[in-house]
């Protein structure tokens, strides 16, 4: 029982941070309707920035996080502005061109980092990396716990931003109906550029929070991209809340899978859940919401 609780809690804490990464993706997918296979690479770049700030300047990852977020916001905005925006008018046989462009971007980002840092595993050493808090019989890892709460704060802030600010409303309008939003004076180019920047910044934040826990190497991006997708689809495209709970779910599955089945197979549970959701619940967790208002005609 204790082992179960321990694994459960670890899973929730981990899931919270996965969720932050996925939230960036669900935002981007919800607004731009594109599949961004470079998302994990963006996380990876954010992690490397945080790493360098720690190794070279002694900056704690939780502070370096903000700088990484800012940098990735710019990078993401740049990518959307100069590259992805161009594809909207291109007519190709397969609409998956956009996806493949993001693959190209992924390769460029991954290989650039590989050139700079080589493929060695890197990690940050922080004083608190192996600290644990004890609550009763359960031991909580400090970086995991801090990471979870920071992620939670970001999720709440994003939610408030989207709901209550003017720009947030513009983003939601563009996500719902891009053309209609245009007719109401909302410039799609600006919205998409800022959204991609925002999504990238959140991805960087998630990565920075995971830095004390994961080893870092250029290909780690692939791992995060896959997880982000699973969580995004699980939660429902464009749903922040869905992505958060989806993240928790995936974190728990992984943790329980690693504890009770095997380390090697742990990722398969997320994939199977993913397939099941794709096949049987395409709207994701979001579609399970009970409507607050019911209007019968």
């Amino acid at each position: 029982m204790l082992e179960f609780l321990q694994a459960l809690i670890w899973g929730i804490l981990l899931g919270g941070m996965y969720a932050l990464i996925a939230i960036g993706m669900t935002l981007i997918m919800g607004v731009m309707k594109i599949i961004n296979l470079a998302h994990g690479a963006l996380v990876m770049v954010g992690m490397y920035i945080t790493y360098v700030l720690n190794i070279r300047f002694g900056l704690d990852p939780y502070i370096g996080l903000f700088i990484a977020m800012f940098a990735l916001f710019l990078l993401g905005a740049f990518i959307q502005l100069l590259l992805i925006n161009r594809l909207i008018d291109v007519d190709a046989i397969l609409p998956e061109n956009q996806v493949l462009l993001t693959v190209g971007i992924m390769v460029v980002l991954t290989e650039t980092m590989r050139l700079l840092f080589h493929s060695d595993y890197r990690s940050v050493q922080t004083s608190y990396a192996s600290w644990n808090i004890r609550i009763g019989d359960i031991s909580l890892s400090v970086p995991m716990t801090i990471g979870f709460f920071v992620a939670l704060i970001f999720v709440v802030l994003l939610h408030l931003f989207l709901k209550h600010t003017h720009f947030g409303r513009m983003i939601r309008a563009t996500a719902e109906d891009r053309v209609a939003a245009q007719y109401m004076g909302i410039p799609p180019k600006i919205v998409t550029v800022v959204t991609f920047g925002l999504g990238s910044a959140l991805a960087a934040a998630g990565g920075a929070l995971l830095l004390p826990i994961f080893y870092l190497w250029p290909d780690i991006g692939h791992l995060f991209t896959a997880k982000a997708f699973i969580i995004t689809i699980l939660g429902g495209l464009g749903s922040i809340v869905g992505a958060f709970f989806g993240g928790l779910l995936i974190g728990v599955f992984e943790s329980l899978g690693a504890t009770y089945v095997s380390m090697g197979y742990k990722d398969i549970f997320g994939l199977i859940v993913f397939l099941l959701v794709l096949l049987f619940l395409p709207g994701g967790l979001k579609s399970l919401r009970i409507p607050v208002l019911r209007r019968e005609r």
Binding site: V90, L94, P95, V99, L100, V103, V107, E111, G264
Partner: protein, 320 residues
């Protein structure tokens, strides 16, 4: 059509004679790798370019083909060349449930579904150590010491793939597949069983991909799950190769493979490990400015100059 035939025949003769001229084993190796990748691209294109179902999980078929050849040798003592027959068969067999599951999904969701399935195969083959030897991989004895027989086998395999692709595309099935790509609902309203024809495209695609996998096992003599079931190095790379060369053309993937392997080898000599970066930049460039791939662009330009067709000429959709 006549022009294509003559052109292809010329190309065939050139490739037939090439190893006589090029006898340095390194260059022969490069050509063999090009032909493997060309085969993979041609196979993928039947499902992707012509039927419009973009699979991100083709590594599953490649890996199953390779492992069939390898495991047949390791567990049953069979010559790995038997893999060239059974590899494609097993790849087609796994294609049946994969298609059954994923064909209910459309567009990008299909892509994600195939991606997930491909990854599941990777995880299973990495962890089922008793059967697959896991991450340790499979090592077999090389069958030939010289590259020459491998070259001709690869050439034969590529030609088989191209012929299958060509015949399919120019048949009734080909028309149906393109119709499915252009508008699946319209296709159904014309009496096409889209489920059946998508599955047909998948089976052919998986079959040829499995064959390439089996050949790969026989050629490089060592495989492990990270090599043959790789999402980024196999599944995604196949798509990029086809995209660069030209989706929905017969020779596009061949050109794409030549560019990919050629560039990789050339750049590796010059730039060391920066070749992957240059490749990535090239991909971005081509997608932005030549979305229909190199061959696609050439065909479009050619078509603009040649208005009006001879009777019986199939439309540009089918490439040549």
């Amino acid at each position: 059509m006549k022009k294509t035939f003559i052109f292809s025949l010329m190309l065939f003769v050139i490739f037939l004679v090439l190893p006589v001229v090029i006898n340095h084993p390194y260059y022969r190796h490069v050509l063999i790798m090009m032909m493997i990748w060309a085969t993979l691209g041609v196979a993928w294109n039947i499902l992707g370019g012509f039927t419009g179902q973009v699979s991100f999980g083709h590594a599953a078929f490649f890996g199953v083909g390779a492992y069939t050849a390898g495991l047949g040798n390791v567990h049953l003592g069979l010559s790995p060349w038997w893999g060239m027959l059974f590899g494609p068969i097993f790849a087609a067999l796994i294609a049946l449930p994969i298609g059954a599951l994923t064909f209910r999904l459309r567009g990008p969701y299909f892509a994600l579904g195939t991606l997930a399935l491909g990854e599941i195969f990777y995880i299973v083959f990495s962890n089922w150590k008793s059967f697959t030897k896991g991450a340790q991989g499979i090592l077999i004895m090389p069958q030939f010491t010289d590259k020459l027989p491998y070259y001709y086998l690869a050439l034969g395999m590529l030609i088989t793939a191209i012929v299958i692709s060509f015949l399919t595309v120019h048949s009734k099935a080909g028309y149906y597949m393109v119709a499915i790509r252009e508008d699946q609902d319209s296709a159904e309203a014309l009496g096409i069983s889209t489920a059946r024809y998508k599955m047909l495209a998948l089976l052919l695609s998986a079959f040829i991909t499995g064959m390439a996998g089996a050949f790969y096992m026989n050629y490089v003599n060592f495989i492990d799950p990270a090599i043959v079931f790789s999402l980024s190095d196999v599944s995604v790379m196949i798509i990029l190769v086809v995209m660069m060369g030209g989706v929905a053309t017969i020779f596009g993937p061949v050109v794409g493979a030549a560019v990919y392997i050629g560039l990789n080898e050339l750049l590796r000599a010059q730039l060391g490990s920066a070749n992957a970066l240059v490749f990535g930049i090239l991909v971005v460039f081509i997608i932005l400015f030549m979305p229909n791939g190199l061959v696609g662009e050439i065909l479009m330009r050619f078509r603009k100059n040649v208005q009006g067709k001879k009777r019986g000429e199939v439309s540009g959709t089918f490439g040549s």
